[in-house]
Symmetry: C2
Subunit: 126 residues, 2 copies
Amino acid sequence: MSVHERIQPESTEISSHEVGEFVAINGISCQDSYRERFETLFKGRAHAIDRAPGFRRMVVLKPIKLGGDYLVVSFWDSRAAFESWSRSPEFLEGHRRGFEDVRAAKERGEAPPMTSRMEIYDVLCE
Amino acid sequence: MSVHERIQPESTEISSHEVGEFVAINGISCQDSYRERFETLFKGRAHAIDRAPGFRRMVVLKPIKLGGDYLVVSFWDSRAAFESWSRSPEFLEGHRRGFEDVRAAKERGEAPPMTSRMEIYDVLCE
């Protein structure tokens, strides 16, 4: 190990060990009438994602602003790890109850109870 | 400790110990010409926030989408802890270089090199 390597700041190591290098944020807009159900589903989530290769952690954020979006923030080793998860059968199973709610609303000719928008990021630093 | 308390899921404890109960996300829109400077400032940040009471951790996210916003995500014990920090002299000092860049642009009659928008959240679950 060279002197240069030894003086690297520790924060780089924390970044790679604790939050990974890649973050996906799913912003979820909920109808007011669906918020309680949405929160119940997430609090009782299956935790299947916790066993996905390259997954580090996730946190679900509830907006303080009235009518704001919920954010589902997940931390990954890499973009490839996230994309593997999002194509997996476990992903579909983990989202089954929410997807069913959306489909049922569609079948009743109603607007979807929630809509979502995914944004992706690299971790710049901690 | 009652039986009921002992069977609480561990995730509740992880939430309160590692990411806290409150999250602030500062979304920063940068002019393309300012992105390199913005990243340099954050990578060399003073870390004054790390010593703020009630601070848990932060992560700076770089958008993968062209022209997207950077996100500065900070995790706190409480909203009060975050608000104390945002009113502190250390907050001003920590943002000094960025604030100076914005003021200098204004003095030259130019558009600000970056604009920001703060959103705040409670941690619903992990």
